[in-house]
Amino acid sequence: MNLLGAVKFPPIQNVIEWPAWLFEDSTYFAFNKIAFIHFLGLVIPMAVFLLGARGSGLVPRGFRTVSEGIVTFVDEQIAKPGIGHGREPYLPLLVSFFLFIFIGNITEVIPFFQMPANARMAGPLVLALVAWGMFISVGVRHNGPGYFKEVLFPPGVPKALYLLVTPIEFLSTFLVRPFSHAVRLFANMLAGHILLITFGVLCISVWSASALVLIQIGTFPGLVAFTAFEVGVSLIQAFVFTILAAVYIGGALHPAH
């Protein structure tokens, strides 16, 4: 336990090290709580969409409303502004990003889980690398090798400035982008998780220290408020990651824009 003032904080290992539920620890297939949350990120959308596909009739109901709402939201609010014309082939990827990330985030406030899978670097890194590979492949497929020229030597820039601009573009677009994309999600979720832990620990510690129980009046509402805040953060981070992926793909699809 780490001591901060009179409050005992759990060690950071409790957030980072998750014991395996299946297979051996320290193996590539060690299946722990984080892997289980990612599994839910596959199973829950499947269930919702399969149940939604069973519905019929002109007016959608139940799971069909949910699944159509998700598809419409991703298409209208993410794919259309991010990619624009020719976005249809990328809709499955964007819907998958959004749902996989949202489920990996929202477990932060669900009892028993109380841990966002995306507060671990692995998930966001995989997703960011997929987005990175996708936008580069889209750029090359639609523009040929000239895509790299478009990105590294943006038109309209004075030639002398290419000495400065080209290395910056290379670093920012092809090297840093996947990591900034991943870290943005990971860091937000880890920070939110640590915030909730802090308020949770404060509540427990203050409750057990009878002299400080009056402070509970401030800490418990803080815990409730930040829990509600983290629900919003879960949604916003899923949205931000997905729309950034859409913008990257859109930029590769129409580099002249």
Binding site: P11, I12, Q13, V15, I16, E17, A20, S26, T27, Y28, F29, A30, F31, N32, I34, A35, H38, F39, G41, L42, P45, M46, F49, L50, G52, A53, G55, S56, L58, P60, R64, S67, E68, V71, T72, L91, P92, L93, V95, S96, L99, F100, A117, R120, M121, A122, G123, L125, V126, L127, V130, V183, F186, L190
Partner: protein, 176 residues
């Protein structure tokens, strides 16, 4: 030196793991489940939902088109109806005008006939009046001659020939 190494190794062993470094097993599972979701979404999950949405859009669009066509047909029918109504109204006005003209003609004919009949009756009555007057005048002339001759005989004290005096009496009556 060995002690220092031991301390460094111990410190490394005790140092908490870096949360930024991804763990292999989590990468593996995240990749497996995400690629599975992406494939399912692309080939199984999304197509029926999109198909249903497209079908609904096309149903709504065709309904809207049908409503537009019905509205257009209604407008056309209303225009036809108004044209037919105007035609009927014009026809009715024409019939009415014709009937009115025929009635006027008939009235004029009847009036002319009545006028002719009245004129005939008036002429006949006038003739009867003239005849009665002539008859009355003739009768009155005889009486007046007799009275005048009688009065003259009384005044003169002698008999007068009525035949001879008749022309004088006629002259006197004609002078009136």
């Amino acid at each position: 030196m060995i002690n220092l190494l031991v301390i460094v190794v111990a410190a490394e062993e005790e140092a908490p793991p870096n949360p930024v470094i991804p763990v292999e097993n989590e990468i593996v599972w995240a990749a497996i489940f995400f690629f599975a979701l992406w494939a399912m979404m692309k080939f199984v999950l999304l197509p029926p939902i999109q198909r249903a949405m497209d079908e609904r859009s096309s149903t709504i669009q065709s309904g809207k088109d049908a409503a537009d066509a019905a509205t257009s047909a209604l407008g056309s029918a209303r225009r036809d109806h108004e044209a037919t109504l105007a035609e009927a109204r014009a026809e009715a006005n024409a019939i009415l005008a014709g009937a009115r003209a025929a009635a006027d003609e008939r009235r004029a004919a009847l009036q002319a006939e009545a006028d002719t009949e009245i004129a005939e009756m008036r002429r006949s009555a006038q003739a009867e009046i003239d005849q009665a007057r002539a008859e009355a005048l003739s009768g009155m002339r005889g009486d007046v001659s007799s009275l005048a001759v009688g009065a003259a005989q009384i005044v003169l004290g002698r008999d007068l020939d009525a035949g001879n005096q008749q022309s004088v009496i006629d002259q006197a009556l004609s002078a009136d």
